[in-house]
Symmetry: C2
């Protein structure tokens, strides 16, 4: 099942110039956009991007609440990272920790009214930034294509812990 693709894999095992350029541009774009969006949100609404991300994920969730692990996955953070982030946001009244009656190990993170209000104020600023700094440069078709392409990238990474080295060994 693997060998049928060996030829193609061997031929494509190293990136060409276009790929490397795309990769470097991707990295720079990520840094530039996130630092800009983060700075704008911090300056205009006093809200870190990581907090905003938590608020959005909670607001979208049924009941405006998520388990710690789910939330950590949604905001792309480690468990311990999320524990501390929720600590801070809780101290600021944006979220609350509620025990899960169905699983006494678990904790729900619940969006508070204050958190919802904060999100309502911040969302226009952030969305405008996303459009101005990112969406502005993409046609609708391009945006969809980008999502599809990067979605494939993500799927290719999901689950499998196969390393590139293993991949090469497999092909050899």
């Amino acid at each position: 099942m693997r060998n049928c693709l060996d030829y193609h894999r061997t031929m494509s095992s190293l990136p060409n110039t276009a790929t490397i350029t795309a990769w470097r541009t991707f990295l720079e774009a990520h840094v530039r956009i996130t630092e800009r969006l983060g700075a704008e949100l911090q300056l205009e609404r006093g809200l870190p991007l990581s907090w905003y991300d938590v608020l959005v994920q909670l607001q979208e969730a049924p009941g405006s609440r998520l388990r710690m692990t789910e939330l950590a996955g949604a905001v792309l953070l480690s468990k311990s990272g999320l524990t501390r982030l929720v600590d801070r946001m809780n101290a600021d009244g944006m979220v609350e920790r509620c025990p899960d009656p169905g699983d006494r190990r678990g904790t729900f993170v619940q969006l508070t009214p204050a958190g919802f209000e904060r999100l309502r104020e911040a969302a226009p600023v952030h969305l405008r930034g996303v459009q101005h700094h990112f969406g502005q440069h993409l046609s609708d078709v391009e945006a969809r294509a980008l999502a599809v392409t990067l979605g494939k990238v993500i799927s290719g990474l999901a689950g499998s812990h196969t390393t590139a080295a293993q991949f090469v060994t497999d092909s050899a």
Copy 2:
């Protein structure tokens, strides 16, 4: 000069669904790929991605050396961040600090033979990862298109410190 575009700007001030999806996918793809590439490089060559980045930038520079500020810009790090990174890499023998005879404030960071050798060992692993996890999913045309698109995004951000809020105010 600004008003001629107001109508268009007003119409495009908030991102549509495709843009938001693309943005979220972009963020997730960045996290997933970099964590994978970093893990592979660390596991197989004991080299952090940030070190690799420094080695590449130096190797590409004339004389295999760059000034601190230039290098900081190239690897997308703050001045202080680079100071510490170079400290560590210097302690490990990958790079050396050399005073700039032409400007006694300045310091060149010079790639050492050991650093070059380390890069030579690591590059195949990293490039294979870039291809396997990223390039694999892009045709040549897509890769070029992605670079162009994200290049526009970067250009749109460069220099100008105009915030989205100012942008909206301008348009109103």
